[in-house]
Amino acid sequence: MILPEIEYHAPRTLAEALKLLVKLKEARIMAGGTDLLVELKQGLVEAEALISLQNIKELKKIEKKDQSLRLGAMVTPQEIISHPLIKQHFPALVEAAKSMASPQVRSLATIGGNIASAVPSADLPPTLIAAEASLELQCTESFREVNLLEFFTGPRLTICRDEELLISILIPVPPPKTGISFLKFSLREANALAVASVASRITLENEVISQASVVLGAVAPSPLLALKASELLEGKKPSPSLFEKAASIAKDEASPISDIRSSIWYRKELIQVLTRRSLAESLKRAQKNPG
């Protein structure tokens, strides 16, 4: 399998990259390249040039900014797994990163690529949405911050404009008594895409759920916030029967397709089971987490 002839640019600064994006209309942005290079080899995508983000140091930073963690778009899953701040505040994101692909791919792939590719089965977005992450999009003329949930518009489709670059991901540090968890089912334990996944978040106040979210992966054109299931949980005392009810609502909210990995029926069943288990785990974490 070989790559087609292609031009290669590796700007050293963000400003330079943004200018290239405007100038080279038929170019593709390359982050880790773990998807893009395969698609180019297989002839699934065409591009005259690649704009590699590999040399832009500021896109590789992980920093605490006010009450948020700011992850540069070029941070790899391997870096997510081993970073003390992420381990401390977002264990669920570490688990999601560990579930991705293989160790080798985890050292090459990037969080920005995992988001911007907008593949419905992507592993990081559900947890990031449950954590209320937002994205920083930059172009030569302007800058905007958008809610991650609103970023996706369909399979491989986002609101990101051609001349815009996803530069970083902002994740607010969760309030005290908050637990987030991520569960994924795939056909093998490693190196496999999600058949279905669920991220959930529970925040407790005086033993009552003050804030909850259930986010579904691989069962809709984009990661899906199960609104009805989330609303059901809020203002109630957590209990197994409440979680059971929320899980069955989440199952109804899922709108999966049948494909090579699973049928619609099976994906819906999975969502019910994963939602129930994920909520139980999030509750456990919320109770343990003093903030």
Binding site: Y8, S102, Q104, V105, S107, N191
Partner: protein, 155 residues
């Protein structure tokens, strides 16, 4: 297409080469530098046969453009033995009979090397996780896991 100049260090030796953007790291290693110990299997990052260490991380060299290895420190299977002595992992693979056809072996050994360096505390299932991105089509996984475990436990 214009060739790009790149400098890289492979197995502690410096190289200056000119490559086209379409050249992947595995092709550079095999075709330009003659280091054919790195095998090329699927070309899509699924099989792990082309695993090398790049700046201390195990990566699929079929998913890295050679130009992106500019300034990088690369270790291939040829770089493990020193002064005529095999690396402990290589020796353990030999001793345990963890090699059948041998095609996956360089990748298995390099990913294990990365794994053992990064994980001081190990659980039983970790050994399988370590090689989860490497396929052995002879299905000789049991002995491969045994060999890695042997080195980890310092036997």
């Amino acid at each position: 297409m214009m060739k790009h100049r790149l400098n890289l260090r492979v197995n502690k030796q410096d190289f200056e080469v000119f490559v086209k953007p379409k050249t992947t790291l595995v092709d550079l290693l095999r075709d330009e530098l003659g280091l054919t110990g790195t095998n090329k299997g699927c070309g899509t990052g699924e099989c792990g046969a082309c695993t090398v260490l790049m700046n201390g991380n195990a990566v699929n060299s079929c998913l890295v453009l050679a130009v992106e290895a500019d300034g990088a420190e690369i270790t291939t299977i040829e770089g493990l033995a020193s002064e005529g002595r095999l690396d402990p992992l290589q020796q353990a693979f030999v001793d345990e009979g963890a090699i059948q056809c041998g095609f996956c072996t360089p990748g298995m050994i390099l990913v294990a090397k990365d794994f053992l360096e990064k994980n001081p505390q190990l659980r039983e299932e970790d050994y399988k996780t370590a090689i989860s991105g490497n396929l052995c089509r002879c299905t000789g996984y049991v002995k491969i896991v045994k060999a890695i475990k042997k080195v980890a436990e310092g036997e």
